[in-house]
Amino acid sequence: MIEAVWKIESTRLIAAIARVTRDIGVAEELAQDALVTALELWPEEGVPENPGAWLMKAAKRRAIDTLRRGHMLEQKHEEIARELEWRQQRLADALERSMDQVIDDDILRLIFTACHPILPVEARIALTLRLIGGLTTAEIARAFLVPEKTMGQRIFRAKKTLSEAHVPFETPCGDELRRRVESVLVVVYLIFNEGYTATSGEEWARTAICDEALRLGRMLAQLLPGESEVHALLALMELQASRATARRGRNGEAVLLSDQDRSLWDLAQIQRGVTALEHARRLGGGAKHYALQAAIAACHMRARTAEETDWERIVLLYDALMQISQSPIVALNRAVAVGEAQGPAAGLDAVDAAARLAGASALAGNHLFPSVRGDLLMKLGRFTEASEEIQRAITMTKNLREQELLTERLKKIEKAALSA
């Protein structure tokens, strides 16, 4: 039960303390101290009526104690001592005020700080899950298949970096706000994908990570109601997650979108996604990055069967997406859509264009390029070339399940070649 209270209260607690300490590392420590006190007292005295307020009070006591102790250490000169005493009193007052009333801005500041661009992406993800998700280091480590010690060090270093760089605990404004919102959204979407696209790791951990990303998305939609891309990302995640059950087969193998049993799609979740996307559009953000991706997902969800998919519209949406970011992966996805809308020959040209875009980057070695090319060649009846491409794809992926899927396709091509 204490753990449940912690999950609900920790973010508010850390955010409120950080408003005063201006250091999220210190704030987290103080909040943790309060939790330890609760773990000692609650089993004996029972859970208090208002556990959130109780934790706040305990954290405040710890904070003031810590201030006092720091003050004792530094009390070398009387003058400094007097100055410190005044500061301590002021801080204690501020702490008193801040804890009485946690405002949404505190939580927003906490999110912006945890996702600060100064930190490497992995550190932002870990810190966000820890401070806003209320996950333990062990839970985060398990979800990312990293030893707990490594994850602990990552979080420790991140807090140290923020502290040493004197990153202000604030909500940015103007152009800076847009940049920082982007940084937050990237983190949330990476967390989601970590859970969603993972073909490994424990099932519960992956689902938990996906759910956490969705929860963060909903929180952000409340905190930044005017930011269209916040709603668009939420839409994208809801729409993708609505297919979670359908995209895994009985043995956990991946099921392609075109082969999915659409009756397994979560209609309520699709509806939530569509509503969020409409919200983003009303805010004038229909042509932005996440909104376009969500629109593509929505387009797929609207089709009752794979054959009913409006591929022409999907190609147009990918065209718009390409105008924003010339990503080889977007280009490859576009090629698949072109193949469906305009035929395999046009799709093949589009794959080549995507491959040129990938150039010599790490993505050029992605097995999806020969895999998509192989599919299109098969549709054109060029079976020898098709099987060559699929064989190439098999050597390019280390993922056993992916290899199995490709091997199955290879068999299909050979069968088609025989009957041709």
Partner: protein, 137 residues
């Protein structure tokens, strides 16, 4: 994991068709709903008309029989529900404990079925992580 928090108001089983919740409770309820929303856990919420406006359809030997409400045999009926997405059963209970209910109301917390668990060997397969991580970097 998702949970349904069902509100079971005593006496609602025999309430008149036009019964509404006391407006005194509304501001507190709005505040509670906002807290659920701000925490990012709220998926859906609805209030239901009393059973006297409803109907029960029962099935015997493949045949459906319709009975209009109110239902004499019903002791406890649902008046409203929330669907929340939380991390544990305990968290769902903790949220339910915070709901501003009156003395004659009960909240029943029930987990919603999710995707069936996969066999262990599938869950433990570690391949593919490196390649996925490379894209993240």
């Amino acid at each position: 994991m998702r949970f349904m928090m069902m509100v079971i108001p005593r006496g609602y089983e025999s309430a008149a068709p036009d019964t509404v919740r006391s407006p005194d409770a509304a501001p507190k309820m709005t505040e509670y709903n906002k807290a659920l929303q701000r925490a990012g856990v709220l998926l859906a919420l609805d209030g239901l008309f009393p059973p006297s406006t409803g109907a029960r359809i029962s099935y015997t030997d493949g045949k459906a029989t319709v009975t209009d409400g109110p239902f004499a045999e019903a002791k406890e009926v649902i008046g409203a529900y929330w669907i929340i997405q939380v991390r544990s059963r305990e968290e769902a209970i903790e949220w339910a404990k915070r709901a501003p209910m009156s003395d004659n109301e009960v909240i029943e917390v029930r987990q919603i079925h999710e995707m069936p668990d996969f066999p262990d060997d599938v869950q433990k397969a570690p391949e593919g992580f490196e390649s996925r991580n490379a894209v993240v970097k």
